[in-house]
């Protein structure tokens, strides 16, 4: 088997994640899909690391994870505070950016 298949898997997962972001309305699920996209890119990075024979790809994947953790913390906090005020986790209910 060619390790390129990992890349195909990564592309597939990324696409599924992106479609999820577009389709799902629950902010939490939407957020999960974002995580899925990040994971997919991590897989690609790890595969590239293997391809090039150095560890820099893994390092980037590592940083991605850290940043994703930070992002999740803040993102979920935002979701919670929105839920507290609006009693809804649907992103369609927050459309105040429309003027």
């Amino acid at each position: 088997m060619n390790p390129v298949n990992y890349l195909y898997l990564s592309a597939l997962l990324f696409t599924i994640g992106a479609s999820g972001v577009l389709i799902r309305r629950n902010a939490i699920v939407l957020f999960m899909c974002v995580e899925l996209m990040l994971n997919a890119s991590n897989l690609a990075l790890v595969t590239f690391s293997r391809m090039h024979g150095n560890l820099d790809g893994q390092i980037i994947a590592f940083f991605t994870m850290v940043v994703a953790a930070a992002e999740v913390v803040v993102g979920l906090a935002i979701i919670v505070s929105i839920f507290r005020t609006r009693h809804s986790a649907s992103v369609d209910d927050s459309n105040l950016m429309k003027l």
Binding site: G20, L22, I23, I28, V46, S49, S90
Partner: protein
């Protein structure tokens, strides 16, 4: 870990062993299935579980590719910490709340599907077109161990980025605290004020009745019984009431009482009680939600039986 190490051996060279191929196909199916599950499950909890599965599969993929450390981190941080965080929030927001199926944005689903499809095709085409046949493998890089190799890079070449991510994490932590912190707009009411307020509003001046039936049950989802045998709804917390997760055991209790009385009468040699079995007013409360089994069939919970005889 030993499995991972053995898998890792295949990854040190660029080529893949048959074992890895088998493993890949298994994991790929799990990962894609999990991803689709995340996308398609109506309930957030289920989505989260599916995502966790995908992440676990990916963790194994990392290990198979020689990224042992990342695989472990993936399990610990992602599946362990982040997904738990997700689950907490899901619980906070409401486990049962499900997306409605009706799409409100016109053409959104179609456009999303089209975009997804197009993007997938493009990516696949791009990868297929790229010259990716030579895989160097990580044998050299991981010579002194994957963790050591990563550590060397992180603390030398990427030390600046590493420090910055540290700052980022602290900022995120503070940010989360700030965001979820609720400022008291006015001074919190004292107990005296609350009491005065209750009297003034004339609603439930004394404390609410406690849940459970003393000597028989003390679970929070079992309402207390009123003297007439009907249930006291106020005794169950509002969340459970809202979800319809109240276990009404009044019938069973009354049956037991009746049984007890008749046994006693037998033993004392009295005639059995003429009192008919009470079927108290049920109010509007249906004790059993559609997806809950009838509580009448579940009398023998662990602690419910204590002191029965």
């Amino acid at each position: 870990m030993s499995a991972a190490t053995s898998l890792n051996l295949a990854a040190v060279t660029g080529a893949t062993s048959t074992g890895e191929a088998v493993q890949f196909w298994v994991l790929a199916v799990i990962a894609v299935g999990g991803a689709l599950g995340t996308l398609l499950m109506r309930k957030a909890v289920h989505s989260a579980l599916c995502l966790a599965a995908t992440m676990l599969a990916l963790a194994v993929c990392y290990m198979a590719q020689g990224a042992v450390f990342l695989g472990v981190v993936q399990i610990v941080v992602y599946t362990g910490a982040i997904m738990m965080l997700f689950l907490f929030v899901v619980m906070l927001v409401g486990v049962t709340s499900a997306d409605s199926l009706k799409e409100q944005l016109k053409g959104q689903r179609f456009a999303a599907a089209l975009c997804g499809l197009g993007f997938g095709v493009l990516m696949v085409a791009g990868i297929a077109n790229a010259k990716l046949d030579s895989f160097a493998g990580l044998g050299e890089a991981n010579a002194e161990g994957n963790v050591q190799g990563l550590a060397r890079l992180i603390f030398t070449k990427y030390v600046w980025a590493f420090e910055v991510t540290g700052a980022l994490l602290i900022t995120a932590a503070i940010g989360a605290m700030v965001l979820t912190h609720r400022e008291h707009v006015k001074a919190p009411k004292t107990q005296r004020e609350l009491a005065a307020q209750r009297v003034a509003d004339n609603i439930q001046v004394p404390p609410l009745p406690a849940p459970g039936i003393y000597a028989r049950h003390n679970a929070v989802d079992i309402p207390a019984l009123l003297p007439d045998g009907s249930i006291a709804e106020d005794s169950v917390m509002a969340t459970l009431r809202e979800r319809g997760q109240i276990r009404d055991v009044s019938q069973e209790m009354l049956a037991r009482m009746a049984e007890l009385e008749s046994t006693t009468a037998d033993w004392l040699g009295r005639p059995p009680s003429e009192r008919p079995p009470v079927t108290g007013p049920r109010k509007a409360l249906e004790p059993v939600a559609a997806n809950h089994p009838a509580p009448a069939n579940r009398p023998a919970s662990d602690h419910d039986e204590e002191g029965a005889e």
